[in-house]
């Protein structure tokens, strides 16, 4: 007797699966995390109530969520765009840091009114982020060197640079702490009057819309999509791999730069040695969840924002370490990956006397 696992490749994905996957993975992650909560003597349902319901129903919670969402949306786009060309920008965190450094430097050294200074900070932060990914981008485009490793290495270099900068050139004159001076008001992202929402949200949403438009309506978007689908054929079609890879990755780098400067300008207020937000890594599950469209990236980012805000809420109110959100993040990725598998194959289990595992087959070609 032998347990048979039969895998049959699907030719199309059932609708319930296509739309339900994000929901199922999140539910599964919540259930499993529930056990972790339970082990600390916490009622999972009570915790989730605070985490999600409270966060979304209080104005305090909503505002915080939106504030948190801003860098997450940018970071999500930073991974999403290159992903369209089948490139992995794992180093978004590094580009984020560099964007933060450069943007802060500009904000501290240039005196302009806010409507000029803020755009300048963002532009320089974005360019810095794009520059930070330029070398890995070129190495990938020109030599095929895996961008996962190279962008990752640049993250560590960026982290060291941050350390250097806050103890050196950017260190606040009067203090001994490893941090920069505070950004002046002219360099701080304001809230939208009356509503009280952080203005960074507007910029983020605009960029989401722009990304969507580019991918779906422009020639560049066609080229990026085609290159991501088959780079050999794309080159035969006259598309320039170098150009597209560079554009896709550097656009991603710029987005990450925005994430960095928006966080300093809108939340942190100054550059600290401890600036280690991790948004660049959270961006990976965000981009995966939102793989099929820029607006889905927006939704995914919002979800994770709720998750993080909720996480710190339960830390203060229930004493649960906020690291539970990292666990949930990881679980979401885990279930997304496994869901990906089930989307491609339907699994049948059976008990068999004579083991003949028929595995899926090669559909065409060498028959």
């Amino acid at each position: 007797m032998k347990l048979n696992v039969e895998l049959t490749p699907r030719s199309n994905i059932p609708t319930w699966m296509a739309y339900g996957t994000p929901v199922f993975t999140i539910l599964a992650a919540l259930i499993v995390s529930g056990f972790a909560l339970f082990s600390l003597g916490v009622n999972p349902l009570a915790a989730y109530n605070i985490m999600f319901v409270q966060t979304l129903t209080t104005s305090f919670g909503i505002t915080n969520t939106l504030v948190k969402a801003v860098p997450l949306i940018f970071a999500g786009l930073a991974v999403y765009l290159p992903l369209k060309a089948r490139l992995w920008n794992i180093g978004a965190e590094g580009q984020l840091i560099i964007g933060a450094i450069v943007g802060t430097a500009v904000g501290l050294s240039v005196s302009l009114p806010i409507y000029a200074l803020l755009p300048l900070m963002f532009i320089t932060g974005g360019i810095a982020g794009a520059m930070w990914i330029a070398v890995p981008a070129w190495l990938r485009a020109r030599y095929g060197i895996n961008e996962i490793i190279t962008t990752l290495l640049f993250v560590f270099i960026a982290q060291s640079l941050l350390n250097y900068v806050v103890r050196g050139p950017l260190q606040a004159a009067e203090s001994n702490f490893p941090q920069s001076a505070s950004l002046p008001t002219a360099a701080t992202l304001p809230s939208i009057p009356i509503i009280g929402f952080p203005s960074g949200v507007l910029l983020a949403i605009v960029l989401v819309a722009v990304t969507y438009a580019i991918i779906n309506y422009t020639r560049l978007g066609y080229e990026i999509t085609f290159m991501g689908a088959n780079d050999n054929a794309a080159e035969h079609a006259g598309m320039s791999k170098l150009k597209i890879y560079l554009i896709a990755l550097m656009a991603g780098g710029a987005m990450a730069g925005f994430a960095g400067i928006s966080e300093i300008s809108g939340v942190e207020g100054r550059l600290r040695a401890s600036f280690d937000p991790g948004y660049g890594f959270t961006a990976v599950p965000i981009a995966l969840l939102g793989r099929n469209g820029a607006f889905r990236v927006l939704l995914a980012a919002l979800f994770f924002a709720v998750l993080f805000i909720g996480g710190s809420s339960i830390e203060t109110s229930l004493g649960v370490p906020s690291a539970i959100t990292n666990v949930m993040e990881a679980l979401i990725i885990l279930f997304l990956i496994t869901a990906e598998f089930f989307k491609n194959y339907s699994v049948g289990l059976s008990l068999d006397q004579t083991p003949t595992p028929s595995a899926p087959g090669d559909p065409e070609g060498d028959v």
Partner: protein, 330 residues
Amino acid sequence: MSGFVTGLANATVNASTVLILAGLGELISERSGVLNLGVEGMMLVGALSGFVVTSITGSPWLGLCIGILAGGAMALLHAFLCVSLNSDQAVSGIMLTLLGVGLTTYFGNPWTGDSVSGFSEVTLPIIGSFLVEIPIIGSALFNSTPTDYIALLLIPVVWLFLYKTNIGLEMISVGEDPETADTMGIDVFKMRYLAVIIGGLFAGAAGAHLSLAFNQIWSSGMTAGNGWIAVALVIFARWEPGRILVGAYLFGLLNAIQLYSQGLKFTLAPETALSGLLNPMIEFVMNPTIMSTYPYIVTLLVLVITVVRAENRQLAQPSALVQSYSREID
């Protein structure tokens, strides 16, 4: 001066053990074609579980064993996702790092800041007392904790394993061309599972070494990026065990210099014409924080040189690295 050098040597060797252990594990995994970006998470899990077990039972050896197994368990998940489900290896690895960080921070809370009596430094029996007397490197190399010795021993062991055993040969072939290996009757899945799990076991050992020998405390995130350095190290070593030792010492040295050179400044005499220009540059280059980027920059250079200069057939990288394999699917 000699005290300084000896101290530096000591610090280098101490810092290198983690890298040797984690690096060897990652090397084996990558040789079979599976990239493991979850080393950091596996190390943390090994560190915490080793620490907890030792705290409770008082036996560092038991802690080490449990830590090793914990790393292996995580790697089992990575193997399942990457080898059986053909998931994206990079994403799975990052997920495991996140998971490791999250789980250990979450569950390790009660033990934060605690210390434990783990492994103490010992000398080798009989010859140990002579070896320690060797100037400079003697006390560094031969007055170490058991895990330091184990790490050094593992280098020739891994080399023999890869190049002088049938299993090693099969593992290498699986990382070069899984389809061919499959045709030759090799169980590709089993080999990759084995390699990935071994990688996890080593990572767990590296983590346990940190909490039981190197630092003998627990604090969340105590691996401090060593897992990522290990990944870079494997590239630097061009997937050869012997070079892992060289790289580990190099990276360890840079790390040690960071700690030791706080007070050191090299400057040119102020009167020379160029000093005004060069001194700030020298200061920058010798700045400890800046120096901590050198391992990564060097690794980048090695990576680029390896790929750019390589005649295709001699690429050091295992040809099938990061590509998933399943039979009957082109």
